[in-house]
């Protein structure tokens, strides 16, 4: 009897604390859902209402910082020692470097009058093919690292995408522009699965709102007249969204849709992922494995991050001086971060 009384007395505070923890988790999940839904709704409304103005402001404010957060995240995810993943990272970094260089070389050669640009679609198709083959190689290498993974089925898909790319290279490139922002949502999914599994179901439910919002934007704006792209900057924004390739589609709809996806992309990298603690304490270099390990490079990592901040400042300065030109430069160079996402996402799967 005495023992029974002791047990119940000991269990009582533990039960109360577990209830409290469950309640706080439920509150956190609800808050998370509210933030997601409100952010997506506000983004969709702003993107539909003033697409050009909000696009200019969004890229100005968040393009640079989101790249810095991605850099911080990639450094965080880089293993202290590559070990069995040495070849995987070698192919990944070689691909990022060579594909970025080739991507930048095309407009550079054109503007230097060294290339007429007459076979631009073929050059684009070649670059897209190299990108797809690189992704296929990474997938196969990742697959071979574990006997549980058999991702051979991705190869026919990669080749089929290559075929589609050769049929419509410019539309394929445009598809990358629209699909890339969604990759951030996949990163968030993988991290929630690891760090906040109790949030995952709510996140998936919120994701179901995304097609509805996209359908709403398309339905609402498909019949609107195209945006007046009478100045160089507005013209660049509409071209980036594919107005030239899809002349019978309202450029208002295209810009709004692209801007909405971009805003989600920036929100995930700048707010969501740091909030759930995937980047560690921002200023603590010791949270990065390459800096933390014995014989690591804390000073080098710190220098890289500080240099990154300097580049963000430089980008803001550039946007202030000549927004249109800086936007072109940014979106050309930004292909590096698009490419870098692939190997790190594969490491998460």
């Amino acid at each position: 009897m005495e023992r029974a009384a002791n047990i119940s007395l000991a269990a009582w505070p533990r039960t109360r604390s577990s209830d409290r923890a469950r309640l706080s988790t439920r509150l956190a999940v609800r808050l998370f859902a509210v933030i997601l839904v409100v952010s997506a709704g506000v983004s969709a409304a702003l993107a539909s209402w003033l697409p050009l103005q909000v696009s200019i402001l969004t890229v100005f404010l968040f393009a640079g910082p989101h790249n810095w957060f991605e850099l911080r995240y990639f450094l965080m995810r880089l293993p202290a020692r590559f070990g069995r993943s040495r070849n995987f990272f070698a192919v990944a970094f070689a691909g990022i470097f060579l594909l970025t260089a080739a991507y930048l070389a095309m407009p550079a050669l054109y503007y230097a009058n060294l290339w007429s640009g007459s076979n631009w679609p073929d050059a684009m198709a070649t670059w897209n093919t190299l990108l797809l083959l690189w992704l296929g190689a990474l997938v196969m290498m990742r697959s071979s690292q574990s006997s549980r993974r058999d991702w051979f089925w991705t190869l026919p898909i990669v080749f089929m995408l290559c075929a589609v790319n050769w049929l419509q290279p410019q539309l394929f490139s445009l598809a990358i522009v629209y699909i890339h922002p969604l990759v951030a949502l996949w990163f968030l999914d993988r991290h929630l699965r690891r760090t906040r599994p109790e949030w995952l179901r709510t996140y998936h439910r919120c994701l179901m709102l995304l097609p509805l919002l996209i359908a709403g934007i398309l339905w609402q704006l498909s019949r609107t007249s195209s945006l007046a792209d009478d100045n160089g900057l507005f013209w660049r924004i509409t071209q980036h969204a594919g107005a030239d390739l899809l002349p019978n589609v309202s450029s208002h709809m295209l810009v709004s849709l692209h801007l909405f996806l971009e805003m989600l992309h920036y929100a995930v990298w700048i707010i969501a992922l740091p909030l759930i603690g995937t980047t560690g304490a921002l200023w603590n270099v010791r949270t990065i494995p390459l800096a933390r390990r014995r014989g690591g490079f804390p000073k080098l990592i710190a220098a890289v991050l500080v240099f990154g901040l300097f580049v963000v400042g430089l980008l803001w300065f550039g946007f202030s001086v000549n927004y249109a030109a800086m936007r072109d430069i940014y979106f050309a160079v930004a292909i590096a971060h698009v490419l870098a996402e692939a190997p790190f996402l594969l490491r998460m799967i």
Binding site: F152, P156, V158, F159, A163, W166, L167, N248
Partner: protein
């Protein structure tokens, strides 16, 4: 032998000259270049007893879209035409399609799980059935254009308007604007 050879040669010569004999026939009239559809929109025909001249009203927005469409006629060529413009791209696309199908076959063959194979076979079967069903029912395509225009004479008699789809086609020549309305008659062939 010699006689046979001469007869054959004469016959061949006769057949050969027959080709040149067609030279007397008048040259066929060159077929006019087919028009190019640049834009699809809607049209409403409204009878009005108060006006004395037929009037074509185009909204500012539609006119702007027509301008854009005519300015980008090269982008409106069909997909086949665009692909056929570049042999390199066609060859590359074909090669990658071949690789895709080959690797899909290898993957199916090396897939040892019977359940997986059955699932894939089931998925392929369903996809095939859906494709066939789509072809049969023309997916969710609306009724053909002439369906809307069938009631035009009746509506005109009643003094009502008729609305239907319209392709804007650019044709050569200087014949002004012509409206071709699709009308299906129920008369038997040869019946006037």
């Amino acid at each position: 032998m010699k006689r046979t050879f001469v007869i054959c040669a004469a016959a061949l010569l006769l057949i050969g000259t027959a080709v040149f004999a067609f030279g007397d026939i008048a040259r066929p009239k060159p077929t006019p270049a087919p028009g190019k559809v640049v834009f699809h929109t809607g049209l409403q025909i409204v009878p009005d007893s108060k006006v004395y001249e037929a009037r074509l009203q185009i909204s500012q927005e539609t006119l702007q879209r027509i301008r854009e469409a005519t300015a980008n006629t090269s982008a409106n060529t069909s997909m086949t035409q665009r692909i056929m413009q570049s042999a390199t791209r066609t060859v590359m696309a074909g090669m990658f399609m071949f690789l895709a199908i080959s690797f899909a076959g290898v993957w199916l063959a090396r897939s040892t799980q019977r359940r997986g194979q059955k699932a894939i076979a089931g998925a392929l079967l369903v996809a095939g059935m859906l494709g066939a069903a789509t072809v049969i029912v023309r997916a969710n395509a609306g009724p053909p254009g002439y369906y809307y225009w069938q009631k035009l004479p009746e509506n005109l008699t009643k003094g009502q308007g008729t609305r239907g789809g319209l392709d804007i086609e650019i044709v050569s020549g200087d014949d002004g604007i012509k409206l071709i309305v699709p009308m299906k008659t129920n008369k038997a062939p040869g019946e006037e």
